[in-house]
Amino acid sequence: MAKSNKPIVWGPFAAGGTLTAFLTPALIALTLLAGLGEVPGALSYERLHAFAAHWPVKAALVVVIGLSLWSAAHRLRITCYDLGVRADAAVAAIVYAGALAGTGAAMLYLLRI
């Protein structure tokens, strides 16, 4: 029985899970406040656009979005199996591709900012 290459997918999952545990609630609070009419100062177009124009910020955003999508994708894959969906290879391909696509899109948009 050979050693598995699972660490390729598990490492980012663990990193993403930790990141989302620390960051996601506060992030959701920001856009929730915006939705309730109390747009936080940093979410005005001028400030946010200026903020996202910095390369370190772009890199950080790619990392946050990328790891969030990846850890969600990995968990979704496990959940599908837990619910009885046997086609693990197919599910894995779909969810990880989705996460990578979302991350790629984020990179694309950040390049335009």
Partner: protein, 129 residues
């Protein structure tokens, strides 16, 4: 004497056999909302890259009842993810100081403290207060 072992079939009813399995599934389902929110961030970046008008309409769309509903549910699930993650961290990363291991509460507590600090810092920098 002949052997004929009987294998009981596995169905999805295991999920409801005990509250701990239901709690596990709830924790796992948080991925839909955390992933969903990350996708919302991607859409937000798209709008931001398209100029002030597109960004304004994104902020407007956030006010829709469906968006508020999603945010509240997503917040609940993401809080559940955070709490379960921090509570499980001491099991995965035990720290031995001298002879004894640090109590779980210390390691989890440190994570909670960092989380609160980070969240308040983020919200303050964003101009919420």
């Amino acid at each position: 004497m002949s052997r004929r072992p009987y294998e009981r079939p596995i169905t999805s009813e295991w999920i409801f056999r005990h509250p701990r399995y239901v709690r596990y599934m709830v924790r796992e389902f948080s991925c839909l909302f955390i992933g969903g929110y990350a996708l919302l961030m991607v859409v937000g970046l798209e709008r931001l890259s398209q100029g002030p008008a597109a960004w304004e309409s994104f902020l407007q769309a956030l006010q829709a009842p469906a968006s508020i509903g999603f945010h509240i549910v997503a917040l609940a699930f993401s809080l559940y993810h955070s709490v379960t993650w921090f509570n499980l961290t001491p099991k995965a990363l035990p720290v031995q100081v001298g002879e004894e291991f640090l109590p779980d509460g210390v390691i989890a507590g440190a994570h909670y403290a960092a989380w609160v600090g980070l969240s308040i810092g983020l919200l303050w920098m964003a101009g919420v207060f």
